[in-house]
Symmetry: C2
Subunit: 576 residues, 2 copies
């Protein structure tokens, strides 16, 4: 997309930016100008998933990658409590999508009785907005300003801009806000991308089940272009729409052969598994109208803890997109035990690379491939290859992060010899409490992969569903199947077949899970199982002071290492 920035036919439109600054409302309890300190050592605190230093986080917002390959993650943030409310935009940056540096809060409410709801950000290299006469790295945040009344009821949700002269660290509100006015309390979550010669916004008319598509030459003047309405699962609300251009690859992990667009829509409440879920629709976009390839409804995740994912703005045209989602579900996000035990609630999913391809039997799929995790890989704890049936057990109680990366590659599969008794199981257990996460795959029959968190007992909630599964048809042509897993204290993520299916699952053990086992059964001779189990470094540990507190990673981070990691991940990401 960077190339596109150079051909803004509308850049010549003069925009009058007045000098009157909007002074934001700063709740006295909210720190300004400094990162919020956080203790990342708690037993439930993920070590390679981003979580806020303290208090409550929900949707990822405003995500973009800048010209220096720094990834910017903003997030819906209540800096004063462990439940939703008092919405700000928290901020963190990363060179590799695994090590995150907490930054000062980026967006405060423009005035009292307004929440800064979800939105997106773009780099306005050609100064289409007029905010950046002297720079090409100006950042514009487009966000929902959600008014509420003193009795707590919701007022109008309008769309406003804030711009950053320092590359996304501090913002000023545009004094001509709102740029899209509304009297509705159900109009929110603008996501903006660049299309050839103009900006395009997708935004939710939440309770009308409509994704509005708007266009603008300058981010300030918006024209309604079309609606994408009543697609897929409706639940009781649409939220957080995304539109993203993706490469089409000729196979899973294969060569780019074309490109297409995807609209993703998050649904909350009323998803099939309860609460929140995200679905997506591949299709074509002509600058004003989106047409789906078909009328199918596809889900980004087969568990229920991945909502409102957003795609980073600014990834190179023709390369995979990258998204991260909110690893929770509104049904229990505000009651999970991390709030009372450790003073924080919610993490983001791990970063996922996205492209379109045709998967075995099920056709169009947006791959959710784990971004190369080598920046946080530590030591291989076990690498084993065996034929047919075998098992390994790894005691990882001495791994200080408590975090593992597991990969199993199975080759030599043959549909005529595999039966419904051919299985590969992966489990994680606490030897002291007996709590267990069990998961596994049946190579025959309906070829389900299942995850069961019901034997972990640190959280009782009527919406905390225990079991998830998907049908993952392995590739009979290649005779191979692959699973990757990251377990990170209270989050398990599973990736099947390089992201053809993926699942994000929270769990809250009373005692740490420290025994990992993998076993196959019923596999015929000729099937080879190659397993690698790695300990994973804490991405936070290096930023901690003697008290275990991460004050603000910026000053502590090892720039040399960060640059090396960035180059490595950049290479790994874009050189596919």
């Amino acid at each position: 997309m960077r190339d596109c920035w150079l051909v803004s036919r509308q850049a010549a439109i003069a925009v009058s930016v007045t000098a009157q600054n909007v002074t934001p409302y700063v709740n006295p309890a909210v720190p300004t100008g400094t990162p919020v300190p956080g203790n990342y050592t708690g037993g439930l605190r993920p070590q390679v998933h981003f979580s806020p230093p303290q208090h409550f986080m929900n949707d990822p917002n405003g995500m973009f990658v800048d010209a220096n390959n720094t990834w910017h993650l903003y997030y819906q943030y209540n800096p004063t409590g462990v439940v939703a409310g008092n919405q700000h935009w928290g901020h963190a940056t990363s060179q590799d999508l695994y090590h995150w540096e907490n930054q000062p809060i980026a967006l405060f409410p423009p005035e009292k009785n307004v929440f800064v709801f979800s939105g997106s950000a773009v780099v306005d290299v050609n100064n289409t907005s007029g905010f950046f006469p002297d720079q090409d790295n100006g950042v514009v945040a487009i966000t929902t300003l959600a008014r509420y009344y003193d009795d707590g009821s919701a007022g109008p949700q309008t769309q406003g801009l804030a711009y950053s002269l320092d590359g996304g660290y501090t913002f000023e509100y545009y004094d001509g806000n709102p740029v899209i006015d509304s009297s509705s309390s159900q109009f929110r979550d603008p996501k903006v991308i660049w299309y050839e010669d103009h900006w395009v916004m997708v935004i939710a008319f939440a309770q009308e089940f409509v994704v509005g598509i708007y266009t603008s030459p300058n981010l300030i003047n918006w024209t309604h272009a079309s609606n994408f309405s009543h697609h897929g699962l409706l639940g009781a609300q649409y939220e957080c729409p995304n539109m993203v251009k993706l490469p089409i690859r000729d196979s899973v992990g294969g060569a780019v052969v074309d490109e297409a667009y995807v609209i993703a829509v998050s649904v909350q409440p009323g998803a099939p598994l309860g609460g929140s879920i995200t679905q997506y629709f591949p299709g074509t976009f002509n600058g004003t109208h989106f047409e789906t390839f078909d009328s199918a409804t596809r889900l980004t995740d087969f568990a229920k803890d991945n909502y409102a994912a957003q795609y980073f703005y600014g990834t190179p045209d023709g390369s995979n997109a990258i998204n991260m989602g909110w690893a929770s579900n509104w049904q229990y996000a505000q009651t999970v035990p991390t709030g009372n035990l450790e003073g924080w609630r919610s993490a983001m999913t791990l970063p996922r690379e996205n492209y379109l391809t045709n998967a075995t039997r099920i056709g169009w799929i947006m791959a959710n491939e784990l971004v190369d995790i080598t920046p946080v890989l530590d030591t291989p704890l076990n690498t084993t290859t065996f034929e047919g049936n075998g098992s390994i057990a790894v005691d990882y109680s001495s791994v200080s992060s408590g975090t593992l990366y597991i990969e199993a590659n199975v080759t030599g599969l043959n549909a005529s010899t595999v039966t419904s008794a051919s299985t590969l199981n992966i489990s994680f257990t606490s030897p002291s409490s007996g709590e267990t996460i069990r998961s596994g795959y049946y190579f025959g029959g309906d070829q389900p992969y299942f995850i069961d968190r019901g034997l972990v007992r640190g959280f009782d909630n009527i919406f905390f569903t225990d079991k998830f599964s998907t049908a993952d048809v392995w590739n009979a042509t290649s005779g191979s199947w692959r699973v990757q897993a990251v377990i990170d204290r209270s989050i398990l993520e599973i990736f099947l077949e390089g992201g053809v299916h993926a699942a994000t699952t929270l769990f809250f053990p009373k005692e740490p899970l420290t025994i990992m086992s993998l076993a196959t059964a019923g596999l015929p001779a000729g099937v080879e199982v190659s397993v690698a189990v790695w300990s994973v470094q804490s991405a936070w540990a290096e930023y901690e002071n003697e008290q275990g507190t991460v004050l603000g990673n910026v000053t502590d981070s090892d720039i040399g290492n960060a640059t090396a990691r960035r180059d490595m991940i950049y290479e790994a990401t874009w050189s596919v």
Copy 2:
């Protein structure tokens, strides 16, 4: 639809029906000419849900109502085992949709190495087929003949006819079968209806995610008319499509204002909750092509135990349709404990009336309203009305059926006074084992209704998900909300708001659940809660001999009572 039968423009087409009978293959282990006897007294055996006398049942098939208002239910049946296989069409009839008379097996395989898979039936009153020169009650079954090889692998699935001269009790195969040939092993489940002047079939090209629409003047010669493809959730297979004409009502339970069509598609495996699920699409049909009203995906059930529902052929034009589904899920249907404990597996859902309307906020909905249950209601155990907060407890250990019907009507709700702490909970408990099903509703917030079967412990299976929920937005205009529940030994069905949302949930307790409680909390003054709890009669008890065995209900049934019941249910059903 009955009126339509009178205007068959194609009825004059002469069809040559040869006299060569096809002799079916009868496995020596399968009884012929007599109903299979069954013991319906087991502790897990539903008393008002249909289940087969013994062995394994899956999809409902061939459902129609005849001119005498007898409801015919056929079903996929393995008469020789408690897992799927050896597929026949079992048969049962009812006057009221609750009392079912077991009939002799209706369809045996036409030859060895063929299974009689799912299909449908119609009454060919105008003898379009030519099978019925002397009668207007001829029944034609249209079914998938699924060939399999000696090694167990699947052969071609072709579509064939069988016709019945005795109103659907015994069938002869048409000797011109197949009427739709195919070399595919993934082409099945024809459902036929009448449209103005011709027959219409919907059928699944299962792994291509296509519902084929065929037309025929005579049930014998079929023309491919169009495809309805890649709609909604795909999972890894489409199965058991239905097309049905439904009235459109001006509100839930309101007056008929128009009519439309629905295509329902069952998906298996790979549903969002795991395994099997059914989705539907309202739209228009012109005799050859179906167009959806919108691109939304709607599910028939918010739990995971309702699959492959079929709509009875022959319900009067302009009246609600009626469907029943298979109350199970392929993920565990063949392993549930009823097989080993009691020699049977699977029940059907209770009958549900269907129409289209616009529900509060969520728009188009196909109501799944419980068919009037009065034919099996016994004694009111508790009728209580209270204002605001209250509770009742009912010990139903003395109810011999173990089956209850519960209805709660809440009125006087006001959005400004109801909070997220306003709840209504219904639970069922075993005082000896402590096993509990909990369920309930939050009147505020996201307005979820939840069901949790995870505290019932008679079945451990990695796919037996514990918790289900939906967002059920109550009607702020009327200020009312309604829940109905039927608990029947090992099945719980929940109906919200007259079928705006419905759920079917299996559970397998170690000890019978015998304490029912209902309690409200956090409800403001002015809210009235009216509760009725009824014991429900066993629909099987009256057919049992001294040994507790239901041999064949036909000869035992009280025709007088049955007629009275039929009239009552008919009145209740069609007089809306």
